[in-house]
Structure formats: structure tokens, C-alpha cells
Symmetry: C2
Subunit: 227 residues, 2 copies
DNA sequence: AAGGGTTTCAAACGGTTGTTTCAGTCTGCT
DNA sequence: AGCAGACTGAAACAACCGTTTGAAACCCTT
């Protein structure tokens, strides 16, 4: 009750959005939870969409600035030499995991983010793309330079897969209960686990069939096995 | 227009759910698309939730039965010997990718599934757990046997990460546009890409800190090879 | 003390949601 | 033919949605 109405609404919205999703979270839920009047949302933010955008922007720009700063530091130290892939992975995903470990709002926000990433609500996707634009170009360039022998399209897919693993790592125990009982993870352990998985996947041998590659060094050609 | 109303509604719902999400898809959208009357949903299924459950069950039980059949075949052939991890991965994730490649309903369904997996709508999670129960126990057992030197908790997390990668692989180009322009993937190429990524991640060296280790894992986890 | 800008409040707005109702149509059986 | 049971149709239901309104309450400078 201490902070002003605007912040209380942001916090309440963040918590409720991750729990119920974008559409199922109503302004009445939010304002009740925030102990504010219903009209306060439209007064302070203008609309529900604008509120959601503010919830994302508040933490996302900070997060991506952190990533860029981490990359800057690495590149400054390397003096033009290509970085090691593991360093770049740590800069990009490590910041996210570390933010997700924050027991304050950061944790619930990262869950919300991982959740929304697959949820193609048009207006969210729009400003998400905008918010990610710079960090994506920077890290793509760094990765391409660090992995010159990996075809770029191939790498983009692996990056995409890594994002999926990150998303699940963060949404974490909720979805993992499906696999069986598991204790809430120690953040450091989660960090180490995800890192070794990501780097294992990133540096896996390339699949054999990429563009026009007539040789088939791997076992299975492409049979229509039991369909 | 050929099939009966019930099937038309299921198909329309499937297509619309993946596009707009569970809450944002209205019964009026569905019945309009299916060229059926609004009341038909409640007549044939009882409620919107029951409709959604039917949409999932229709393909999910088939999918998981396929996975179990694939595992049965592998185990019969191995005659009690542990399977190779790659075989189990192919049995579990290969079936999913192959279903996602189906240009008929299978493809849109798999997108819906990957999308819903992070979306913790309580009632969906309930019957999803129920629907997955058998296949999870079977594959967990097979993996534990195939990877005897990987701690079980460690493996469960990797399995979780793999599910994340699968989810993103399927929801695919939608979310990937964020990374830059990419062509719609050839299903075979996607299969090969995801497989090598997954197996690379699954067999990555174990992180070093599993027991109580107060040291910060930021630098070198330095582990042995898994399995 | 007065007054102006900012913030809160209760109430209402039009619109849309899932669900229900009930009269009508179609189908197949004896 | 006739009639029961399965299905479709149009219309209405209460409940809830996001947003707007206009009047109170608050805060701060002069």
C-alpha cells in the first residue's frame, strides 16, 4: 500500500497476467488486487493495452540494456577477436536467468515474458519486436562471428530452440510438475543446468541434410518409416 | 461442409484456438467458421471448456499412443538391453515433429499444443497431466535405464528443456520472425535440426555443482561427459 | 484562505461473452 | 403414414467486459 497507485497497478497486473494470461486478466481483477479504483487504469495508462505494454517495457528495456552491456564488456576485452560461443550464451541467457532468480518482481516478470513469447497477440508482438530489435542484431552478429562454420539459418534455428529451453526453464516447476515431483530449483543450479544444456545443443554436430549436400554421412537417409 | 457438424466445429475450433488463444477465441467465431449454429457447441459438447478438451483429446491420445507404440517396438527389439538415448529421443520427439509436419489438422494442432503448454489455464493443465501420465512414466523409465550415470533430477530438467525447444520448434516461424526473416522450414530439415540440438543438449557434460557447493558457477562448470 | 491541478471515486455506458430456451426440421424405424 | 429421437435455428438471458463521465477529495503553492 505504500507506493503510489501507478506502481501498485503495475505490480498487480504483472502478477495477474502471468497467472491468467493476457485476455483472461480483467481490469477489475487488477484494480481490486492493487486496491485502486477501476477507472485508475484508464486514467494512468489510457487503456488496457497500454497498461500491458507498460508492464513489459518497465523491465524489458532494462533487461536488454543489461545484455548489451554484457556483450560490450566482452567485446572490449576481446579487442576484435571472435568471442567464444559460451561467453555469448552466458551474456544473453545468463542475464535472463539471473533476473528470473530475483525474488522481487523480476521472477514473475520473466515467467510472463516466456509465456507471452509464444502467444501471438498482435499488439504485444509488435512492441516486443521493437524492444528486441537492437539486442537481436547485436547478438546475431556476435554469434555469426564466433561460429563462422555454422550456416546462419542453422544458427537461427538453434537460437530459437535455446529460447524455448530458456522459456521452459523459467516457467519452471509449474510445467515441470507434469514430469513428476521436483523441488523448486536453486537459482545457481538452474543456471548451471541450463547453460550446459544450451551449449551442448548449440555446439552439436550439424545435421547432415542442410542445403545441397549430396553426401549422407548419417545413418538414416529419409525413409518414410511407420507413419 | 461435408463432415458432420461436430467435426466441423472441432476443426474450426482447432484452427481458431491456435490463432487467438483459449480465451480470445469466442464461440461465435467458431460456429461462424464451422457454418454451424451458435447453440450447436453447447448441444454437442456441453460447454466451451468441454469443447476445448475435446479438441485436445482427439489428437493427443492418438499422439501419445504412437509414442508408446514406438517405444514398445524399440524395447522389443532390444530384448531388455538399455536403449540408446538417441533412439528414445527420436521416439518421443520424432513422433511430435512428424505430426507437426502433417499439413492436415495435425500441424495446427501441434502448434496449439506447444502454445498451451506454457499457458497454465487450470482446467487444461488438469486433463493434460492426465493425458500425459502414462507416456511420461514409460519414457522416464526408459531414459533412466539408458542414462544410468545421469542423476535423475538432472535428467528431468533436461527433459524439460527439450520440451521447451520442441514447443518453440513447432510454434516455429511465427515467433522466429523476431529473429529475422526465415523461410517456412521443410519438415525434414526441421526434424534433423531439432534432433541434433536435442541430443547435443541431452548429452552435454554435467554441470559441476550438483551437491552443496557454495562456489559461484559463473566461470567453468567443468564436468565430465554425460553417459 | 483561496484556488487550480491532480488524483480518486461511484455509477453508468454500449458491447460481447457463454449459456439457455423453445419452436422447428430432419431422420429412421415399425 | 406416423411418430419418437436426434439435430438445427433464431432469439433472448444474465453476467461481465473495457471505457467514459462528472462530481467529490486531495495536495500544494500564493
Amino acid at each position: 500500500m505504500e507506493p503510489d497507485t501507478r506502481s501498485r497497478i503495475l505490480d498487480a497486473a504483472e502478477a495477474l497476467l502471468v497467472q491468467h494470461g493476457l485476455d483472461a486478466t480483467t481490469l477489475r481483477m487488477i484494480t481490486t488486487e492493487a486496491q485502486a479504483n477501476l477507472a485508475a487504469v484508464n486514467y494512468h495508462f489510457g487503456s488496457k493495452e497500454a497498461l500491458i505494454e507498460a508492464v513489459f517495457r518497465r523491465r524489458l528495456t532494462w533487461l536488454n540494456r543489461q545484455r548489451i552491456a554484457a556483450l560490450d564488456a566482452l567485446e572490449a576485452e576481446a579487442r576484435g577477436a571472435p568471442l567464444k560461443p559460451r561467453q555469448i550464451v552466458e551474456a544473453f541467457f545468463g542475464v535472463a536467468i539471473r533476473m528470473a532468480a530475483d525474488t522481487g518482481g523480476g521472477r514473475t516478470f520473466m515467467r510472463l515474458l516466456g509465456r507471452t513469447y509464444t502467444e501471438p497477440s498482435d499488439f504485444v508482438r509488435t512492441f516486443l519486436a521493437e524492444e528486441y530489435a537492437e539486442v537481436i542484431t547485436r547478438f546475431k552478429a556476435a554469434f555469426f562471428k564466433a561460429l563462422p562454420d555454422v550456416p546462419q539459418e542453422e544458427f537461427l534455428w538453434r537460437f530459437h530452440f535455446m529460447m524455448g529451453a530458456l522459456s521452459y526453464a523459467i516457467s519452471g516447476a509449474d510445467a515441470l510438475r507434469l514430469l513428476g515431483p521436483i523441488d523448486e530449483p536453486d537459482p545457481d543450479a538452474l543456471y548451471a543446468r541450463l547453460m550446459s544444456f544450451l551449449i551442448g545443443g548449440l555446439r552439436a554436430p550439424l545435421p547432415a541434410l542442410v542445403p545441397a549436400s549430396p553426401a549422407k554421412p548419417l545413418k538414416k537417409p529419409r525413409g518414410r518409416r511407420a507413419a
